[in-house]
């Protein structure tokens, strides 16, 4: 299906400053930035160069890059179930659709962090454009949030303390859930199928027993199933919550990742090895679910 552009696509990028666009691009792996925009230089330099022009064609290239490269980023993925009635929203809370390609759409939301600069005391703020990609599958709707920079202080010359932010993942998802066509997917079956087949193991697992929530964290990040198969057999009967998994065969490039299977959440907290994404892992979890 041909890419369909919306007027707002260039609008939100055009309305944003070059600094804001640069901060947006800096969320992406340096290798991917160099491959698309400039072959050499630091991530900061490549991002600054790519973000400097507000020419419509260049802004289109930036939007296209973001759309294609969200899967390569550190990201939080929320999986929702739907019964076939779900559609891609035209906008999200505090954000606009940037691009739509039939089965998925890219959105950019404005988020403001308020900070206090220390010595001397001074209140300040910094804006980001936050990429959110929503993908429509046959039975599922995936919402991917690119993980924003944790070290907000790196954008200031002096030490700062973050006081708050104007938007959260929960707020955006609340807006998506409001029409009642989607609900959080329970991914326990999919995760347990991959675990059973030794495609993944857990180094930290939280599960719900009838009268307690139990967290088991393995010493020295050893795999639970490999280290203690009896315990694995016991706990696989329970709903799984916020946990850390390590990939085994076939997913080595993904690295450790977090998940709350009961809440339909998968988190990739580090950049993948070059050229890799977590998409195949997600696909196998969903197809086994």
């Amino acid at each position: 299906m041909a890419t369909r552009w919306y007027d707002c696509a260039v609008s939100i990028l055009k309305k944003s400053s070059a600094d804001l666009r640069q901060r947006l691009l800096e969320l992406f792996p340096a290798t991917n930035l160099r491959r698309t925009f400039v072959s050499g230089g630091t991530k900061e330099k490549v991002s600054r160069t790519a973000a400097s022009s507000s020419d419509t064609k260049q802004l289109g290239a930036v939007a296209d890059f973001i759309d294609k490269n969200v899967p390569f980023c550190k990201q939080h993925v929320y999986v929702f179930s739907h019964d076939g009635d779900a559609v891609l929203p035209l906008s999200i809370t505090n954000g606009e659709m940037v691009k739509s390609d039939g089965d998925h759409a890219l959105y950019l939301a404005r988020i403001e962090y308020t900070v206090v600069q220390l010595d001397p005391l001074k209140y300040s703020s910094i804006d980001f454009l936050w990429p959110v990609r929503i993908e429509l599958h046959q039975n599922y709707l995936l919402v991917r949030f690119v993980v924003l920079e944790k070290s907000i202080g790196s954008y200031f010359e002096k030490e700062v303390v973050v006081r708050g932010k104007s938007l959260s993942e929960e707020t955006i998802m609340g807006g998506l859930l409001v029409d009642g066509t989607i609900s959080r997917a329970d991914l326990n079956k999919g995760f347990k199928a991959l675990w059973h087949r030794d495609r993944i193991d857990a180094t930290r697992i939280r599960y719900k027993e009838p009268e307690a929530t139990v967290t088991r964290t393995m010493d020295e990040e050893k795999g639970l199933k490999q280290t203690n198969p009896e315990k694995y057999e016991e706990l696989r009967r329970f709903p799984l919550h916020q946990s850390v998994f390590i990939p085994n065969r076939g997913f080595a490039e993904v690295g450790a990742f977090t998940a709350d299977p009961t809440e339909g959440f998968i988190g990739f907290t580090r950049y993948f090895k070059e050229g890799a994404t977590g998409d195949e892992l997600i696909r196998q979890i969903l197809s086994s679910n």
């Binding site: 964290t217 010493d219 020295e220």
Partner: protein, 132 residues
């Protein structure tokens, strides 16, 4: 003399009354790869200091090796080594951020809590397993 015998001789040296059947059974159930002072103390009903003496005697007799482990702020064991100076300078830890998401970070080992544990001497492990 097997490692098991050495370990029990170490215990006997500080427990003149010897071991009861129940204590023996409980000691045998310990994971020989990781024995904490508190494991031994609670089984024998002795003081912490006496439990340390038992385990250190077992180390001197070659039954056990003393190791140190470094713990992340949430108590997770990140790494272990026979000597503190052999621990990795930086260790990998997870923490929950303000929104409840697990995030990872690397922390200087020197800043983290360490604790001692004991492990059956791997070089003589087979002997131990056969005897036990």
């Amino acid at each position: 003399m097997s490692l098991f015998d050495k370990f029990f001789r170490a215990i006997s040296s500080v427990l003149p009354s010897g071991l009861g059947t129940k204590e023996t059974e409980l000691l045998l159930k310990l994971d020989p790869h990781k024995v904490y002072v508190e494991n031994v103390r609670s089984i024998l009903g002795v003081s912490h200091r006496e439990a340390v003496r038992i385990l250190e005697t077992a180390v001197r007799q070659g039954a056990f090796t003393r190791l140190v482990e470094v713990q992340c702020p949430d108590g997770t064991v990140a790494a272990s080594a026979e000597r503190e100076e052999d621990l990795p300078p930086m260790v990998h830890c997870w923490y929950e951020d303000d929104e409840g998401h697990l995030e990872e970070t690397n922390i200087n080992s020197q800043l983290l809590r360490k604790s001692t544990f004991y492990r059956i001497n791997e070089r003589q492990r087979d002997t131990f397993q056969r005897t036990a």
